[in-house]
C-alpha cells in the first residue's frame, strides 16, 4: 500500500526525500507522478523537511468561536523571531476536538483547550528536540442507552444470526424501522444493503466511514470510544447480510485513541471467533481491518474515501454508478457512517417498536449530537431523535455561556448553514430541519452567542470548503476560492454600493452553479453558509458593506484585515 510505504519513509526522515520516492517508484513499479500526485494531495505527508515544531492552529467553526484567531496571532508574535526551520505556525482544518476548543496540533500531536502560553511551552520543548506526546484524555466508558447489552454478553445479534441466517428479516426490520444514514445524506440503510446484497459479484466489501471531519462533528469519536463493539457488530451484520467477506474501518488519523480502542476490540473479536474464517463455527467469513486516513475532509465523501483506500488521490467519483454497484476496487460496497452501523444491532436486539419509541415528536431512534461553540458544557449527548434544538442547547449543553444570548446556531456544522435563535425550536429530525432550509447532517450543533459576526462565520465556513476542496472539478476548485475572495472584500470594507449589488448577483450565480454542477456534496453545499446568512442576517451583511460597520466588532480590525495564515495542504 502506497500510504504505508510513504509513512515508513516519513517516519525515518521526517519527510519524503526525492531519492526515497524514486526508490519507491522503482521497487513498486509505480510511476513517479503517481507517487507525487498522492504525496502532494494529503496534508499528512511532507515533501519538504518540516520545522522542529510544526504548530497548526485549528481555524474552523468551534475553535474560531473560541479564540483561534487570537491564539494564532499570539503564537505568531511569540515566535516572531524564530527561524522557520525551528517553528512554523499555520492553520489547519478541524482536528475533531470541537468540545475542547481551541485545539492545536504540534508535530501531529493534538492539544486541546490550549492557551498561547501553553502552546508556546510545548512548541519550545519540541524545538529543543524533546519528544512531545499527545495527552490521551481518560475516557471513562459512559453507559449509553444505545447499548443493548450493558454488562451482559455482547454480539448477541451476530450470535443469533449465524444460527438463523434470516437475512431477509434483517432487511425487513431495518426497513420497518426506517433507519436512515447518519452521516449526513440520510439514505435508507435497508435499500443500500439490499442493493449490494442483490449484486451477483462474489466479492463485496463493507466500509465504515469513521472519517468525520466536518467542523463541529465529533459524535463518531464518542461512539467509537464508548460503543466500539456495537460498531463492529453492525459491520459484521452488514457483511453477513450482503455477502461481503471483508470490512474496512476508515478512521481519520487524528483519532489515535479510537484507533487503539477499535484495534483492541477487533483483536478480541478474532480471539472469540466473531471475526475471521468460519464465524462462530458457521460457514461464513468476515475479516475486519482499520484503515487510517492520510487526512482531509474530502475523504469523508464516500467515493473519495474509496479512492483513498485504493491509494489514489481522494477525488470523488462521478455518480452513478454508486458504490453499492461499483465501489471499492470496482466491487459492490456497503459504505455507512459509524452511527448507522451502531443503530443496526440496537434495532435487531430490541425490535422495531423499541426503536420507534425512543424518538420524540414522531421521530425514531436515538441520536448522538455534538454541541460546541458558545455553550457552557460543550460535548456529545445521546438524545431522542426529534427533540427541539433549544432543548439540546439549554438542557444538555448548559445553554449559552456567560449569560449571553443565543444569536444563531448551525444544526450540523457549516453544511447546514446558520439558523437564527428564533428558529431554535426546530426539531432534531431529517424532515423538520430540511423544511427549515437546513439539514440534520451529522448532528454537529454549533452555537453562536450575540457577540458573533455572522458574515465572519460565513467566511470562515467558505474558507473551510475552499481549503478542503480536492480540486477535481471546476465549480468547487475555482468557485470556492472566488467566493472567499468576494466575502473577504465585504469584510474589509470599501465596496461601493453598486459593486455590492453586482457582487450579490454574482454570488447568487456562483452559488447556483456550484450547487448544480459540482461533482460531490462538498462543492454543492459550500454556498449554504453564506446563503443562510444572507437569508437570516441580511441587515448585518448590509451594515458591513454599506455602512462599513461590523455590528459585532469582529471585522475591519487589523487582525481581520491581516487575513488568514496559510493552511496545511494549500500550497501556493
Amino acid at each position: 500500500m502506497i500510504f504505508d510505504d510513504l509513512r515508513v519513509i516519513q517516519l525515518r526522515y521526517g519527510f519524503l526525500p526525492k531519492a526515497e520516492l524514486e526508490g519507491l517508484s522503482q521497487r513498486t513499479q509505480t510511476p513517479l507522478y503517481q507517487i507525487h500526485s498522492v504525496a502532494s494531495f494529503y496534508p499528512h505527508f511532507h515533501l519538504l523537511p518540516p520545522p522542529k515544531a510544526e504548530v497548526r492552529v485549528c481555524a474552523d467553526m468551534s475553535c474560531h468561536l473560541n479564540g483561534a484567531c487570537q491564539l494564532r496571532a499570539d503564537l505568531l508574535s511569540r515566535f516572531a523571531n524564530s527561524r522557520p526551520e525551528d517553528v512554523q505556525i499555520r492553520d489547519v482544518s478541524c482536528l475533531g476536538r470541537c468540545d475542547h476548543a481551541p485545539a492545536i496540533s504540534i508535530n501531529d500531536h493534538i492539544f486541546t483547550d490550549v492557551t498561547a502560553a501553553h502552546a508556546e511551552q510545548i512548541a519550545r520543548n519540541a524545538i529543543q528536540g524533546n519528544t512531545i506526546r499527545e495527552p490521551y484524555p481518560e475516557h471513562p466508558r459512559i453507559a449509553c442507552k444505545a447499548d443493548p447489552y450493558g454488562e451482559s454478553q455482547k454480539y448477541g445479534v451476530v450470535r443469533k444470526l449465524t444460527q438463523s441466517k434470516d437475512w431477509e428479516a434483517v432487511l425487513a426490520q431495518l426497513k420497518a424501522a426506517e433507519l436512515k444514514g447518519m452521516g449526513g445524506a440520510g439514505f435508507p440503510t435497508s435499500m443500500k444493503w439490499d442493493l449490494v446484497r442483490k449484486q451477483p459479484d462474489p466479492v463485496k466489501y463493507v466500509v465504515c466511514n469513521a472519517d468525520e471531519s466536518e467542523p463541529g462533528t465529533i459524535k463518531d469519536r464518542f461512539i467509537m470510544t464508548n460503543l466500539p463493539h456495537l460498531l463492529i457488530e453492525g459491520m459484521i451484520i452488514s457483511g453477513l447480510v450482503t455477502g461481503a467477506k471483508r470490512g474496512i474501518l476508515y478512521i481519520r488519523h487524528e483519532y489515535r485513541l479510537q484507533e487503539e480502542i477499535l484495534g483492541a476490540e477487533i483483536r478480541r473479536c478474532y480471539g472469540q471467533g466473531l471475526l475471521g474464517k468460519g464465524l462462530l463455527g458457521s460457514d461464513m467469513d468476515f475479516d475486519l481491518e482499520v484503515f487510517v486516513s492520510p487526512g482531509g475532509y474530502i475523504c469523508g465523501e464516500e467515493s473519495a474515501l474509496i479512492e483513498a483506500i485504493e491509494g489514489h488521490r481522494a477525488e470523488p467519483r462521478n455518480k452513478p454508478p454508486f458504490p453499492g454497484q461499483i465501489g471499492l476496487w470496482q466491487k459492490p460496497t456497503v459504505i455507512n457512517n459509524v452511527e448507522t452501523f451502531i443503530n443496526v444491532p440496537q434495532i435487531l436486539a430490541r425490535g422495531v417498536d423499541w426503536f420507534v419509541s425512543q424518538g420524540a415528536g414522531g421521530s425514531r431512534g436515538l441520536k448522538f449530537v455534538a454541541v460546541s461553540g458558545h455553550v457552557t458544557h460543550p460535548g456529545i449527548f445521546e438524545v431522542p431523535m426529534g427533540v427541539p434544538m433549544r432543548d439540546i442547547i439549554l438542557n444538555h449543553a448548559g445553554g449559552v455561556r456567560s449569560g449571553r444570548q443565543l444569536k444563531a446556531f448551525a444544526p450540523s456544522g457549516p453544511s447546514s448553514g446558520y439558523l437564527p435563535a428564533s428558529m431554535a425550536d426546530v426539531r432534531l429530525d431529517f424532515k423538520a430541519l430540511a423544511e427549515a432550509g437546513s439539514m440534520l447532517g451529522s448532528g454537529a450543533i454549533v452555537v453562536c452567542d450575540d457577540t458573533t459576526c455572522m458574515l465572519d462565520m460565513a467566511l470562515n465556513a467558505v474558507r473551510f470548503y475552499r481549503s478542503e476542496s480536492c480540486g477535481k472539478c471546476v465549480p468547487c476548485r475555482v468557485g470556492s476560492q472566488k467566493m472567499a475572495d468576494l466575502l473577504v472584500g465585504w469584510t474589509q470594507g470599501g465596496v461601493p454600493e453598486t459593486q455590492y449589488r453586482a457582487d450579490l448577483a454574482l454570488l447568487d450565480e456562483l452559488s447556483e452553479a456550484m450547487s448544480l454542477t459540482s461533482i460531490c456534496g462538498l462543492g454543492q453545499i459550500a454556498p449554504a453558509p453564506i446563503q443562510s446568512v444572507l437569508k437570516h442576517f441580511r441587515t448585518e451583511v448590509d451594515a458591513h458593506v454599506l455602512q462599513g460597520q461590523c455590528p459585532s466588532g469582529i471585522c475591519f480590525t487589523p487582525a481581520a484585515r491581516a487575513g488568514e495564515a496559510p493552511r496545511v495542504g494549500i500550497r501556493p
Binding site: P31, S40, F41, D485, I570
Partner: protein
C-alpha cells in the same frame, strides 16, 4: 419511454423534447452529438476516457443537480434538456470562473487563435470575467526544448494526463497538490525538461488552452534547396523511426526537419563549421574524416638572442613527442564512431546519426562528412532531434548501433581496457546502460556510495570537489573520458561530484561488471589503479594549494593554479604596449598577450594563460583536443581542427588561432594536393625557448615581471594587510 417496441440493446430517451434511440451504454454527450446537438466541453476528448471534471457539458436530467453528460450513460426514459436557461447560466458561470485566472490571450490563442476556453467564453459572453483574479501566479516552465508549459493557463482538464497515460503509456504527467492550488506536475514535480518526459507531444496536442504549447526554435526552418525537401507529417509517420511521435507535433514543426539527397562526393558538413542541425542517414554511405594536419604548434628559434624572431611551426608527433602522448588514442567525434589517430577516417551508413552535439549543444562540427554514394538523409533541428532521442523506437535503434559499432572502440580507446578479452567486451556490450543527462544534472554526488563506472559518450562532464569556500573544478571530461573508478577502487564513496554541463550521454558500467573486469584482467587493474592514484595525487596537490593560499578573491579569479603570471606594475607602466608588440613579434605577428586583466593593488595581471581553476576553454571542444597536462599546463592536441571555440570560451582572451599554410587533398582533382590555410589554437608558451619571456625583456620601464603567483601574492597581499 423505453417501450415494448424498443429493440434489445437500445435505449429510448427524450433529448430536448425529441425522441431519440441510441445503443445502451451511450453517454448522454454522445447521444446528443450524433443527433446534431453540440454540448460544449473542455475536458472531454473522443479518444480519451471521460472524466467529467470541467462540468461544462452538464445537462438537466430532472434531478436535484445537473449531470455531466460525458460521464452519464443514457437511461431508459431519461428526459434530457441540454440548453435550458439553468444549464446555460451554469455553464457561463463556469467559464467565467476559469477565465478569471486565465492569461488572456494565452499562448495558444496568440499562436493559433484556437484556445478552446477563450473561444467558448467569448461565445457564452463570459469574458471578461467578473471574478477576482488569482493573486499568486502558478508560473511557467521553460525547461523542455519542445514544449512550453504555462501553469497559469492550465484548467486541470486532465486531458494531458490521459494523453500521457492512456494514449501513449508514458506515465509522466499527473495532478499535484489539492484544491485551488492543484496543478499538473511531471514526475516528482520536476521541470518538464528534466523529467522522464520523452516529448512525444501528445499532451500538448491534447491541451485545450495555452498551458502546453509547441515551442518554436529560433530560425526554425532549414533552408530547403533543390535537393532538399520539406516533409509532411504523414510522410514522416510512414518511417519506422517516427513510430510513436505525435503527428500533430511533426505538423507543428514542419520545416524543422528536411530530407536531403546528396550526390556522390558532395560535402554534407565540414569540420569546424558552426551549425545547429543533426543528420540521420536513411540511404547510402558517407565518409567521415578529419582533414586537419595531425600536428601541434611548436615555437622554435631564439637561440641567438631575443631579437631573432621566434617561429611557430606545425610539428607532427613523431618529431616532437610530448609526454602523455605516447599512447595511441582515438579521436572522439560527433557520430557513433571514433576515428583512429593513425587514419582518421570512418564510414557512416543507413541508421547512423551524426551532428548530435552540434545540434543539441551548438558545438562546431567535429568532422567532415562526404557522401560516398548518393545519400538520402534527414537534417533536423534541436526540437525534432530532442523528440527523436526520447522516442523509444529511435532510442533503441541508436542504442543498438552504438553497442554494435562504437562501444568496442570506445572501450578499447581507453588504454587500460586494451587488455580486455573479446568475450568480456561482448558481455559489456549487452550489460552496459546508456544514460542521458540534462544540463546541470548531477550524475554522481561527492560522498555518496559509488556503484558504477562511466564512460562519456557525448557532451561534457564537470568534475568538481567541495572545499571550504566553494567548488573546485578538477576537470572537464568529454567523449572518450571516463570517471567513477576512484570511488569503486577506493573507499566505495564518491570523492568528487560530476555534473552534466550540457546534453550528456554516458555509458554506465555497473559496479559488479567493473569489479569483475578488475578481478579478471590484471592489466586493467594495474592501469586503473595507476590512473586513480595519479588523479588522487593531483587532486590532493590542488587541495593542498587551496589550503595554503586561503585568499578567496585570489582563488575566485582563477590565479591560483598559474605557473607564471605576467604582472605589470602600474606605478611604472607607461602603457606603451612594448610588451604586447614584443609578444607579437615573437609569435609570427600574433600576440598571445593583452595588456588588460585583473588588478591587485598596483599590479595588473595581464592576460596570458593562467591554467585556470575552472578551465572553461576545455568545454565544447568538438574533438577533445584541448586538455590539461598533469603539470597543469593547458595543451592543445594534434588534431585540433581550428574551430576556435576554445578561444571564444577563454574568458581572459588567452587562446589565439594561428593560421598555417598546409597541403590538403584537392577535392577538385583526385590524387593531387593544394595549398590551404588551416588554423590551430595556441596559448601562451612563456617563450619557453628563450631565457626570459619576450614581453618582460622588452619592457623599457621595468614594469613587467613574470612571477610565481603563490610567493608573489602571498608577500604582496601579506604586506597589504600589514599596512
Amino acid at each position: 419511454m423505453t417501450t415494448a417496441t424498443t429493440p434489445l440493446g437500445f435505449v429510448d430517451i427524450s433529448l430536448d423534447g425529441q425522441p431519440v434511440r441510441v445503443p445502451a451504454g451511450t453517454s448522454v454527450f454522445d447521444a446528443a452529438r450524433v443527433n446534431g446537438i453540440n454540448i460544449p466541453t473542455l475536458c472531454h476528448l473522443q479518444n480519451q476516457t471521460p472524466v467529467g471534471v470541467c462540468r461544462l457539458c452538464v445537462v438537466d436530467t430532472g434531478a436535484r443537480v445537473l449531470a455531466a453528460s460525458c460521464v452519464r450513460p443514457v437511461e431508459p426514459g431519461m428526459k434530457v434538456v441540454t440548453n435550458s436557461e439553468k444549464v446555460v447560466n451554469a455553464r457561463k458561470t463556469l467559464l467565467e470562473l476559469l477565465m478569471s485566472d486565465h492569461p488572456w490571450p494565452c499562448a495558444r490563442q496568440q499562436n493559433s487563435g484556437d484556445c478552446e476556453l477563450e473561444t467558448l467564453a467569448k461565445a457564452a459572453g463570459a469574458s471578461p470575467s467578473r471574478f477576482a483574479k488569482r493573486t499568486v501566479a502558478r508560473g511557467k516552465d521553460d525547461s523542455s526544448l519542445a514544449i512550453a508549459v504555462d501553469h497559469d493557463a492550465c484548467i486541470l482538464c486532465d486531458r494531458c494526463i490521459r494523453a500521457c497515460d492512456e494514449v501513449k503509456s508514458n506515465f509522466v504527467l499527473g495532478r499535484m497538490g489539492k484544491g485551488y492550488s492543484a496543478g499538473i506536475a511531471f514526475d516528482l514535480n520536476s521541470p518538464m525538461g528534466d523529467s522522464t518526459c520523452i516529448s512525444c507531444g501528445e499532451c500538448m496536442v491534447s491541451c485545450p488552452t495555452g498551458a502546453l504549447t509547441n515551442k518554436n526554435v529560433v530560425g526554425t526552418v532549414i533552408a530547403a534547396g533543390p535537393d532538399a525537401q520539406g516533409l509532411q507529417a504523414e510522410d514522416l509517420l510512414q518511417i519506422p523511426v517516427f513510430n510513436g511521435v505525435s503527428g500533430t507535433f511533426l505538423e507543428l514543426n514542419r520545416g524543422a526537419i528536411v530530407k536531403h539527397r546528396f550526390r556522390k562526393d558532395q560535402i554534407i558538413c565540414r569540420e569546424g563549421e558552426f551549425g545547429s542541425t543533426a543528420f540521420y542517414i536513411l540511404e547510402g554511405k558517407a565518409k567521415v574524416s578529419i582533414s586537419t594536419p595531425m600536428a601541434h604548434v611548436k615555437t622554435q628559434g631564439g637561440a641567438k638572442g631575443f631579437f631573432k624572431r621566434l617561429t611557430s611551426t606545425l610539428v607532427a608527433r613523431e618529431e616532437d613527442q610530448r609526454e602523455e602522448e605516447a599512447r595511441d588514442r582515438t579521436i572522439p567525434i560527433d557520430a557513433s564512431v571514433d576515428l583512429a589517430y593513425g587514419n582518421p577516417v570512418a564510414e557512416l551508413g543507413p541508421g547512423d546519426l551524426f551532428g548530435e552535439m552540434t545540434c543539441m549543444n551548438f558545438y562546431p562540427r567535429s568532422a567532415t562528412v562526404i557522401a560516398q554514394s548518393d545519400v538520402v538523409a534527414f537534417e533536423m533541428l534541436r526540437n525534432v532531434l530532442d523528440i527523436m532521442l526520447k522516442n523509444k523506437t529511435f532510442r533503441a535503434q541508436l542504442d543498438h548501433t552504438y553497442r554494435r559499432r562504437a562501444l568496442e572502440n570506445h572501450l578499447r580507446g581507453v588504454p587500460m581496457f586494451a587488455g580486455l578479452s573479446s568475450e568480456f567486451i561482448e558481455h559489456l556490450k549487452k550489460s552496459v546502460e546508456l544514460q542521458r543527462y540534462a544540463p546541470g544534472q548531477v550524475i554522481v554526488q561527492q560522498g555518496t556510495p559509488a556503484d558504477s563506472f562511466y564512460l562519456v559518450r557525448i557532451g561534457f562532464v564537470k568534475v568538481s570537489e567541495n572545499y571550504p569556500g566553494g567548488e573546485l573544478v578538477l576537470a572537464y571530461l568529454s567523449r572518450g573520458d571516463y570517471f567513477g573508478e576512484i570511488g569503486l577502487l577506493g573507499g566505495g564513496f564518491r570523492t568528487a561530484t560530476c555534473t552534466a554541463l550540457d546534453h550528456v550521454e554516458l555509458v554506465r558500467i555497473s559496479g559488479d561488471d567493473f569489479r569483475d573486469m578488475v578481478a579478471l584482467f590484471a592489466s586493467v587493474r594495474i592501469g586503473l589503479e595507476a590512473v586513480a592514484a595519479e588523479r588522487r595525487a593531483a587532486n590532493q596537490q590542488r587541495m593542498h594549494m587551496v589550503h595554503n593560499v586561503p585568499i578567496d578573491q585570489f582563488l575566485s579569479q582563477g590565479l591560483m593554479e598559474a605557473q607564471s603570471l605576467l604582472i605589470l606594475d602600474l606605478e611604472n607602466c607607461t602603457r606603451c604596449d612594448a610588451c604586447v608588440n614584443a609578444c607579437a613579434d615573437a609569435h609570427d605577428g600574433i600576440t598571445r598577450l593583452v595588456r588588460d586583466g585583473l588588478r591587485f593593488d598596483q599590479y595588473l595581471v595581464a592576460t596570458s594563460c593562467r591554467q585556470c581553476r575552472d578551465p572553461l576553454c576545455m568545454v565544447g571542444c568538438p574533438v577533445g583536443s584541448i586538455r590539461r597536462r598533469n603539470s597543469l599546463e593547458v595543451i592543445i592536441e594534434d588534431w585540433c581542427i581550428g574551430c576556435g571555440l576554445c578561444a571564444q570560451n577563454c574568458p581572459y582572451g588567452n587562446i589565439n588561432l594561428h593560421p598555417f599554410e598546409v597541403l590538403v587533398d584537392d577535392p577538385g582533382r583526385t590524387g593531387s594536393k593544394k595549398t590551404a590555410i588551416r588554423q590551430k589554437a595556441t596559448s601562451c608558451d612563456l617563450c619557453m625557448n628563450l631565457k626570459e619571456p619576450s614581453c618582460v625583456y622588452a619592457c623599457p620601464h621595468d614594469a613587467a615581471h613574470r612571477v610565481d603567483p603563490r610567493t608573489f601574492f602571498a608577500t604582496m597581499l601579506g604586506q597589504g594587510s600589514a599596512k
